[in-house]
């Protein structure tokens, strides 16, 4: 088995950042109706920087591992920088080839995170506003 796939399965089996966060500053839930993947992103924010990240979810290995990897990636990052994370960055973190069918699984956590940050600023974002960079 591919080492990157091993890594994904490891994050799926033993997520490092999964759990309930009390007193979160930003909470946003999103789902993919087609596959039933669900992700809830929870953030603690200080001075516009992310201090803590936890996610709750259920679904396929790619959606869950992506959310877990993303949680590590965005810690201590500025909210505005997170808005600019490209879809390719997320796919690079996963390290495997993501076909058109699974792209929504891979990006579910990232989209939930961005939508949550935008909503905190009073802006309601749809997938169509966020997926401009999807290439396939």
């Amino acid at each position: 088995m591919d080492i990157h796939m091993e890594n994904i399965l490891d994050h799926w089996r033993n997520p490092r950042n999964s759990g309930i966060m009390k007193d979160a500053d930003i909470i946003f839930s999103d789902s993919n109706p087609l596959c039933g993947d669900e992700i809830k992103m929870q953030l603690k924010v200080k001075n516009n920087n992310i201090k803590e990240v936890k996610f709750l979810g259920r679904g396929c290995s790619i959606s869950q591992a992506a959310a877990d990897l993303l949680s590590d990636y965005v810690k201590d990052k500025n909210l505005n920088d997170i808005k600019n994370i490209k879809n390719e960055e997320m796919i690079k973190m996963l390290g495997i080839e993501i076909g058109p069918v699974r792209i929504k699984c891979a990006l579910l956590g990232l989209f939930a995170l961005k939508k949550g940050i935008y909503l905190k600023e009073g802006i309601k974002m749809e997938d169509s506003n966020l997926n401009g960079q999807i290439t396939n």
């Binding site: 087609l34 596959c35 039933g36 259920r58 396929c60």
Partner: protein, 396 residues
């Protein structure tokens, strides 16, 4: 049992080692079907019911023959067979033509195990007309629960699937139709999963309508069938207006054509109808009782050989039609399906276009292996071996 090894050789797509187990979604096509359509396009492609030149006459004759062949297959009259795009369009035809006449307080009865194609049209028509949508629940074995309790004097339409595309349940449609007729309701049967698998006789069932798709029974995509009793069809308003469905058009009004043409507006899918003739001929040669017993044996063999896989849970009643839906621990069916794809095995994972049912099962998605005439025991062996591999890799 059918000689599936031999049958498989007649399907070009299966010659490259593909183990195709998503037959409830669509079936593969034999040379016989593909060649008949190629022959039409290469030798007598012309529009029907119009030209007087030879190939136009030939195309028209063939298109009308398709109505006769399908009619005979389900024991109907040729003018009771309407070609549509698929089952969904067939059900929408009835929903818009008859359903729009519903009034406040009228009731439409469907069930929790309907495919979206027999769920959403009625849900929406009921919203438009203020009619009540009643949904027959299912029990823990995956059978309809007390259907008779939901059919009453206010019931105007009963639309039920003959066989579930998720659970494999074969519903007691004959009794349901009888009950519907006792209260003068129209009975519609969604035959998308039944007509491809066993003999369906509309006279015996006494259904008012039967809808099914060509592509789930070896035929091409884009051709579906709506059977309707001629006395009802004659009274019904068309669903789509345009060419070929008219007898005479004046500036102020139009006289509509005879049935079934009144319901087939516009240039029809002639090549699809021709392909469907050959699909039906193919199935008739195999004989439907053999088709049914073949998939029965594959289901039984799959359940037996997969029983040693712990955490594999199959859904639905003991007696299943053509398919088994299942789950393997907490593994998402898309992960399972993607992994099996690496082994050249195609199974379905998802909500199967039956979200209300899959949610009732407590899942967002399930996996489904569905069988047809070309599937062999060896295919099942490969699937079970693949599932064991998946289980090992994902440790579920």
């Amino acid at each position: 049992m059918l000689n599936a090894e031999k049958i498989k050789k007649e399907f070009p797509i299966l010659s490259k080692g593909l183990i195709y187990l998503d037959n409830a979604a669509t079936t593969q096509k034999p040379y016989q079907v593909i060649n008949s359509m190629k022959d039409y396009y290469e030798n007598y492609n012309a529009n029907v019911h119009r030209g007087v030149y030879r190939i136009a006459v030939e195309a028209t004759e063939k298109y009308e023959e398709a109505h006769r062949v399908i009619a005979k297959f389900i024991n109907a009259l040729p003018n009771e067979v309407i070609f549509t795009k698929n089952t969904t369009e067939a059900i929408n035809l009835v929903a818009y033509s008859l359903g729009m006449k519903l009034k406040k307080g009228d009731e439409v009865v469907i069930s929790l195990m309907e495919h979206h194609s027999n769920f959403v049209p009625w849900q929406q028509i009921c919203k438009l007309t203020n009619a009540v949508l009643r949904i027959i629940p299912i029990d823990e074995n995956g059978n309809l629960k007390d259907f008779e309790k939901h059919i009453n004097k206010n019931t105007k339409i009963v639309s039920i699937t003959h066989a579930s595309n998720v659970l494999g349940t074969i519903n007691p449609v004959k009794e349901i139709i009888k009950k519907a007729h006792e209260v003068n309701a129209i009975a519609i049967i969604d035959g998308a999963q039944s007509v491809p698998h066993f003999d369906v006789d509309v006279k015996d069932l006494d259904c008012d309508f039967l809808a099914f798709s060509g592509h789930k029974m070896l035929g091409p995509m884009g051709i579906g069938v709506l059977y309707g009793k001629q006395e009802i069809l004659k009274e019904m308003k068309p669903f789509i207006y345009g060419g070929d469905m008219i007898k005479e058009v004046n500036i102020n009004d139009t006289k509509f054509n005879e049935i079934p043409w009144k319901f087939e507006a516009g240039t029809p899918n002639v090549s699809g109808a021709i392909g469907l003739i050959e699909a039906v001929n193919y199935l008739k040669r195999l004989e439907m009782n053999n088709v049914f017993s073949h998939t029965q044996q594959l289901i039984k063999y799959f359940l037996e050989t997969s029983s040693e896989i712990t955490n594999l849970k199959a859904y639905g009643p003991k007696e299943k039609n053509g398919l088994v839906s299942f789950k393997l621990g907490r593994l998402h069916p898309h992960d399972m399906s993607a992994f099996l794809d690496e082994l050249n095995i195609a199974i379905r994972g998802g909500h199967m276009c039956a979200q209300p049912l899959v949610n009732f099962l407590g899942e967002a998605a399930v996996a489904r292996a569905s069988f047809y005439v070309y599937n062999t025991k060896e295919d099942v062996d490969k699937l079970v071996k693949g599932l064991k591999k998946v289980k090992g890799v994902f440790k579920v």
